[in-house]
């Protein structure tokens, strides 16, 4: 699911709520988070640049995934740490929400794009890759600047406006990719378990993917409208301050 992490003020200057009393983030935690967010911004920038270079040199999107997959897999998998950040409390977001978002990315990268090689040259893959790259560069730089307490307005603007287009585009890319993968999954019966077996369970990856596709229907609008509400709250507040000036 094309994620934009929901949270009130990013994961910068976050307070741990312990028994109702608020504590500022420790120096070590802040340093680590800055390092993490800078590294992730850089990683996705590198990925974006590699994609642009490939397209300029080769003039086609065929083979693009293969050429960037190592970088993509590294940085997207590394994002699992964000779940730990929430669990430990240095980031004030729900573990469940972050978990779902990171899981959906991991799922797309490893269980669709990596495992079903025949769809790697689909246009829909490029679509979600581009969306993810722009989203993540914006998001991680937003967090970085937040932690440094110097947030340029255009980054904040980007974070709360890009998603309006990027989110639906990303969902489209992901859904089209899964749809393209279906015939290959059916033919090879991959990741599936048939009866009889001594665990008395069966699993059909093909039908599982269809269920995943349908699950976007209730989930996507909820996340989208949540981001819209966040946007109104954050940017709306900003507007009022300017009026007073």
């Amino acid at each position: 699911m094309a994620p934009s992490e929901e949270d009130g003020g990013g994961n910068g200057a976050v307070e741990e709520k312990e028994k109702g009393k608020k504590r500022k983030l420790g120096a070590l935690a802040t340093a680590w988070l800055i390092f993490y967010n800078v590294a992730m911004t850089a990683g996705w920038l590198v990925l974006g640049i590699a994609m642009v270079r490939f397209y300029i040199q080769k003039g086609t999107h065929r083979g693009l995934f293969r050429s960037v997959q190592k970088t993509l897999k590294f940085f997207q998998t590394f994002a699992l740490l964000e779940v730990v950040h929430c669990a430990v409390g240095i980031v004030r977001t729900s573990v469940l929400v972050t978990g779902v978002q990171v899981s959906s990315r991991i799922f797309m990268v490893w269980f669709i794009a990596h495992s079903i090689k025949q769809i790697q040259n689909e246009e829909s893959v490029i679509l979600f890759l581009v969306v993810w790259t722009v989203t993540e560069i914006t998001r991680y730089s937003f967090y970085t600047f937040n932690l440094l307490n110097h947030l340029p307005y255009f980054i904040k603007w980007a974070r709360y406006n890009f998603f309006i287009i990027l989110y639906p585009a990303g969902v489209a890319g992901e859904l089209l990719t899964i749809y393209a993968a279906l015939p290959y999954v059916k033919k090879t019966g991959m990741f599936s378990l048939r009866l009889p077996n001594k665990y008395n369970v069966s699993f059909d990856y093909y039908y599982f993917l269809i269920i995943v596709m349908f699950s976007y229907v209730p989930l996507f609008p909820q996340l989208y409208f949540h981001m819209l509400r966040q946007r109104r709250r954050v940017l709306h507040g900003e507007v009022i301050v300017e009026k007073d000036d």
Partner: protein
Amino acid sequence: MGGRAGFFEVEILDWETKKQLCFLDKVEPNATIREIRLMFHKLYPRWYPARQSIKLDPKGKSLRDEEILQHLPVGTTATLYFKDLGPQIGWTTVFLIEYTGPLFIYFLFYFRMTFVYGLDERFTSSPHPVVNLACICHSFHYIKRLIETVFVHRFSRGTMPLRKIVKNCFYYWGFAAWLAYYINHPLYTPPSYGKKQINFAVIMFLLCEAGNFSIHVALSDLRRNGSKTRKIPYPTKNPFTWLFFFVSCPNYTYEVGTWISFTIMTQCVPVGLFTLLCFIQMTIWAKDKHCTYLREFKDYPSHRTPIIPFLL
């Protein structure tokens, strides 16, 4: 503060809009919240007492029926807030629906209705005795639960929101269908350790069911005279209740035990998954109950754990 002779006035506001919904004058100082709910219901027939949440503070907890007006921190003109809890359904009805579903759904699979495994397998029966045993155990479990709901349980709260029951039914009925599908499947594989595994599981099953029933009876006896207050449960002469020495909620402990035994008996992953989810849910409930006991009773046995002796 109230407490003097003379009537009270009660105004009830909507908790969100703060609009005045009603104004009751000449209210007896010793009126209970239950009576106020009945008066409110007269003015608003569609909001029957069970769906009224009446509180002192818009974001506060709902007041209990037994609370008395003059003992509340209000002046002689009391301001209360109303929140609509939505359509409510009685606990007994809830459990009857939640438990009859799995009972009959399992039969659809056991008797291999046409639409389940296809025309070729319709109404056939399994060559494995353990499949018949599993059906007996599963049915026994839910029939026992239905009997307990009607004759044993005494509920402290009367109702629950109607929306919850749809969600609960999907969950219980859905899981029952899923695990019944595999146990009664023509390609079912009996447990790897054969009769030894099955016999062990049956004995464990019976012990846990007896234990669970004993605890329910013991808890019900605590409220024999129809009171709604909580009391500390203690072990009785029945050996199954001796688990009260170690845990606050042995009924949940035995329930998890029942499902573990059913998993061993059928050696079926969906059953194992259901057992795991039951365990997680019941641990949450047990921890809640345990905390409530600790809060309410100063002399609560301190060595007790919520659900698993010494551990959890």
